[in-house]
């Protein structure tokens, strides 16, 4: 297995770990961290797969995509954290109400 595929598989692994974390944790901070781990996984896949062959320079386009993705992830995390603080100050705990469908 070449290093590029190895790192891409690690990326898929991070994505899956993050997904699991998002589902099983109820604390909002852990959910937001899990989303960030998933994002890092996707970015790692993009960066790793840019190296198509050993003797070729890496493809710059996915790198540009990752930079765009990081900008999006930063703003999304900022929004998520501030929303979490508001949820915590309104309800007293940083979790989602379990049953809202009535």
């Amino acid at each position: 297995m070449n290093p590029a595929n190895f790192y891409a598989l690690i990326g898929i692994g991070l994505f899956s770990v993050g997904l699991l974390g998002l589902i099983i944790n109820s604390h909002l901070l852990k959910k937001i961290l899990a989303i960030n781990i998933m994002g890092s996984g996707v970015f790692l896949v993009l960066v790793a797969l840019a190296k198509r062959a050993e003797n070729l320079p890496a493809d710059p386009v996915p790198h540009a995509m990752v930079i765009t993705g990081i900008v999006v992830a930063v703003s999304a995390t900022a929004l998520a954290l501030s929303l979490m603080l508001r949820v915590a100050s309104e309800t007293g705990h940083a979790t989602l109400p379990d049953e809202v469908e009535k």
Partner: protein, 490 residues
């Protein structure tokens, strides 16, 4: 003639993205005249869509390479009949909601509402004009973040929790979509939809990309059973925001689904299993959403569950497109526009009833018919389109779907659509019935301004008129330069 040529060469598509962004900035800068700025921007969007439509009618589908960099390196804007239809719906519904919002929001909320709504409008227009899957990801994120911010606007406990759940769902969906983009880019070295369509072949990576993108977009569109975030978010937002979310935002991710499915995936993958699965989920959404809507005691939750049900109808296009391509295609376009008009009318009239009575308990609507006749009429007319009674846009859409299903002998779809229509009638008449009866407890009633009543009524009348505009709408839809296997223009 010189003016005409200049207007025809004007980059209306760029204006559609630039104007709302400029509007958002100026709303931040000049909060004193924020309503005027918002209204002017919304109106300029309507004008630009008319300009773009004229361009498309004269010259066929439209491409604009940003900064002169052509794909695969640069970003291209692309508009055809389907994008035009979505842009026109966005512009009209958006303009009506803007008028409504000038009266609805108090100054403290208005300074927050208008800039974010302008950002949302820019994201929607950019999304409908994007021709590459990575740009679509960026616009999806812009859309998701501004939609979440708008949901949290009222600052109540329910609004924050609903917005938080919505944000987590939308981020998860975007990441799944982005992983799909990564896989497609790695395999085919391009993110431009037309370049990808030219070289895509079935392979495990394409299957994985299809699965990830479909799951992400279905979550954003709130397809059953991924609809869990929609009722709390759509019901706790302020009324104009609920209208925007239900009418436009979920349609945006469905639009991407539709485009990717018909240009990229359907020709290469063995699509019958997946399209049947999507159809079954659509059926489940119709039944589950309608039954839940019938059980609700709060008006806005009822309308939100009705959205879950109506989204189900949209997904029936996938099993029906196999042999009846163009009929199913026209049906889904009709359903998208008529649902956008009718559902925004419903949420706006629900907003009026809430402003009027101070609550949204269905059982205590207290003779709204006599006291807010325009609003009650708007709700009833929108209901006609949601139920699918002629003559209305909803009727045409559902009739075309039924026709496709009967011709193909897909009887379970026929049965579900008929039951769904009956259930819709049940939950809408439940509301209308209570608007006639006096409540047991008397309420302090607030007056509702005409600026809030007329947009709802006009949107509802639009949903009805759509039933009579069959030919022009479909000729607009057929502007296209790609014709794919099943004979569907795209």
């Amino acid at each position: 003639m010189a003016i005409q040529d200049a207007l025809l060469a004007f980059p209306w598509a760029v204006a559609l993205i630039f104007l709302p962004l400029a509007g958002a900035l100026s709303c931040f800068l000049f909060p004193r005249i924020i309503r005027t700025l918002g209204l002017i921007t919304s109106f300029s969007i309507v004008v630009s869509v008319v300009g773009l439509g004229w361009q498309l009618l004269e010259q066929g589908s439209y491409r604009h390479t940003i900064g002169g960099w052509s794909p695969p390196l640069g970003i291209e804007l692309y508009a055809d009949g389907l994008s035009l239809l979505m842009l026109a719906t966005t512009a009209l519904v958006g303009f009506a909601i803007s008028i409504y919002s000038t009266a609805y929001f108090k100054p403290t909320l208005a300074v927050k509402f208008w800039p974010i709504w302008m950002c949302l409008l820019a994201a929607l227009n950019a999304l409908f004009l994007s021709a590459d899957i990575f740009n679509l990801y960026v616009t999806l994120e812009l859309l998701g973040l501004s939609a979440v911010a708008l949901t949290a606007l009222t600052g109540s406990k329910e609004a924050f929790s609903g917005a938080m759940r919505y944000l987590l769902a939308t981020l998860l969906a975007s990441l799944a979509y982005l992983l799909g983009v990564a896989l497609l880019y790695h395999n085919f070295g391009s993110v431009d939809i037309s370049l990808l369509a030219a070289q895509i072949q079935a392979s495990p990576a394409v299957w994985a990309a299809l699965g990830l993108m479909a799951a992400g977009l279905a979550l954003k569109t709130a397809l059953f059973p991924l609809h869990f975030w929609l009722p709390p978010a759509h019901s706790s937002a302020p009324a104009p925001v609920s209208a925007l979310l239900s009418a436009l935002v979920i349609k945006a991710s469905f639009y991407i689904f539709l485009r990717l499915w018909f240009t990229l995936f359907e020709p290469v993958v063995d699509s019958e299993t997946i399209s049947t699965l999507l159809g079954l989920l659509g059926c489940a959404a119709i039944l589950w959403g309608s039954i839940q809507a019938l059980r609700q005691t709060r008006l806005k939750l009822l309308i939100a569950y009705s959205t879950v049900a109506q989204v189900g109808y949209l997904f029936l296009v996938f099993p029906l497109s196999a042999s009846m391509g163009s009929v199913a295609w026209n049906a889904v376009a009709y359903l998208i526009i008529s649902h956008a008009l009718a559902k925004s009318a419903m949420f706006l009239s629900a907003g009026n009833m809430i402003s009027f009575g101070g609550h949204d308990r269905i059982a205590d609507l207290d003779r709204v018919v006599q006291r807010l006749p325009l609003t009650a009429a708007a709700f009833a007319l929108a209901g006609v389109s949601i139920m699918g009674i002629p003559p209305s846009g909803g009727f045409i859409g559902k009739w075309l779907l039924l026709e496709a299903a009967v011709t193909q002998g897909q009887w379970y779809l026929v049965a579900v659509m008929i039951i769904g229509g009956l259930l819709a009638a049940a939950y809408i008449f439940k509301v209308i019935g209570y608007t006639f009866s006096p409540a047991k407890v008397m309420h302090e009633a607030q007056s509702v301004s005409a600026t809030m009543q007329w947009p709802a009524l006009l949107l509802a009348i639009g949903a009805i008129l759509l039933g009579l505009l069959y030919v022009p709408v479909l000729s607009m839809l057929s502007i296209s330069d790609v014709v794919i296997a099943s004979g569907v223009g795209l």
